[in-house]
């Protein structure tokens, strides 16, 4: 307790006080359970477990951490594990949380990869995989639509989105260069002080 509290104390003093000490073992087990059961997207499972069942976070903290996770490189699932682990038990908490959430899926895909390499060319497997791949395209598109509804504001955001797609798919620019060039343009467009004018204009 003292160790974790000491680490959290300086920045977290004015935030919600850490409710009770959470053991490293509990963090690992909870993230292991999430890692093993979160079929079809991790975020709802994280919320149910961390805000609902365990009450390690309140809803506001959860949303805040999720928005940090989305702005940084890395998957939401692993970034959330790092952030929540850090809040609960410092660096050790982060490490066991990310290990826990990755372990079940990692072991599963290790086995699936070996099975696929040996049997992936069977007629029934190729037929099923064609359907699976097509469904996955639909799934990604639905994510794009849902994210656009939530976080795109104004027609210029659609221009930046289109520029990104064009640069990668048509001009065959590397993802890194596209991210830096269009990213900087978009950030400059949304520079401080401009938000007010933009919302006035709309």
């Amino acid at each position: 307790m003292s160790e974790a509290a000491a680490r959290l104390a300086p920045q977290e003093a004015n935030a919600a006080a850490p409710r009770a000490s959470v053991s490293v073992r509990d963090i690992f087990i909870e993230f292991l359970i999430i890692g093993a059961t979160s079929f079809g997207g991790v975020v709802p499972y994280l919320r149910a477990a961390l805000v609902g069942k365990r009450q390690w976070l309140n809803d506001k903290e959860f949303v805040e951490m999720l928005s940090i996770s989305q702005s940084l490189p890395g998957l939401n699932a692993t970034n959330m594990a790092i952030l929540v682990g850090e809040k609960l038990h410092g660096i050790t908490g982060s490490i066991v949380a990310i290990l826990g959430i990755c372990l079940p899926g990692g072991v599963l895909m290790y086995v699936v990869g070996m099975v696929y390499q040996q049997h992936g060319d069977h007629a029934w497997a190729t037929a099923a995989l064609k359907g699976v791949a097509a469904a996955a395209v639909g799934l990604i598109l639905s994510t794009v639509v849902q994210l656009s509804k939530k976080s795109l504001a104004g027609k210029f955001d659609f221009v930046f989105m289109a520029l990104t797609v064009l640069a990668v798919n048509r001009l065959h620019q590397s993802v890194l260069r596209t991210l830096i060039v269009v990213g900087v343009l978009a950030i400059l467009f949304h520079r401080p002080g401009r938000a007010q004018k933009a919302s006035d204009a709309q």
């Binding site: 656009s148 640069a167 990668v168 950030i187």
Partner: protein, 176 residues
């Protein structure tokens, strides 16, 4: 030839491109793992990614399969560490001072600016994948059907990907 150091380098680089989601790195993943290093074919990459959508946990765990093919058990471990290590470290460090930047006006600018770019990268990854996954009426119908159902109903996406497998077997299984 030992592929493990190359795996580490490639996946650490890919890791930093996953802004907004794993799919953002997909076009670059195709170039690196298929075209440059030839660890697998493009159809195999699409299949592994898609099957990975039915697995629990972070949705890019298919990288473990690529690591295993190219470098055995050690390859799988190194790939996993390389893909999640750099972003984990970055998130850990940023989290410590992100709260203190609450009043820094550029923080909101960065978040607002990166939103359309990360959605664009996701869409670009989707188009790259569609080039290999959508061919003909059946696959197009499965993709559009999945999209419609997901936008209309609250249903677990993993179930729809599984349904795609069933439709695939009925559509593409050669009749004996």
């Amino acid at each position: 030839m030992n592929q493990v150091p190359t795996l580490a380098r490639v996946f650490a680089y890919l890791s930093l491109l996953t802004v907004g989601g794993g799919m953002a790195a997909f076009p670059e993943m195709q170039i690196q793992t298929v075209d440059v290093h030839k660890w697998l074919t493009f159809p195999q990459l699409i299949h592994l990614y898609s099957v990975g959508q039915m697995a629990p946990g972070p949705n890019m765990m298919m990288i473990v399969s690529i690591g295993e093919w190219a470098g055995g058990f050690l390859g799988a471990l190194v790939t996993l560490a390389a893909f999640f290590g750099p972003t984990a470290l970055l998130t850990f460090v940023v989290a410590r001072f992100w709260k203190r930047l609450e009043r820094w006006p550029w923080r909101a600018s960065i978040q607002q600016g990166l939103a359309p770019v990360s959605i664009g990268l996701l869409l670009a990854g989707c188009f790259t994948m569609a080039k290999g996954a959508i061919f003909g009426v059946e696959t197009a119908a499965i993709a559009v059907g999945t999209l419609m159902v997901l936008l209309q109903y609250k249903i677990n996406p993993a179930l729809l990907v599984l349904a795609g497998a069933v439709v695939g077997i009925f559509s593409f299984m050669p009749t004996p």
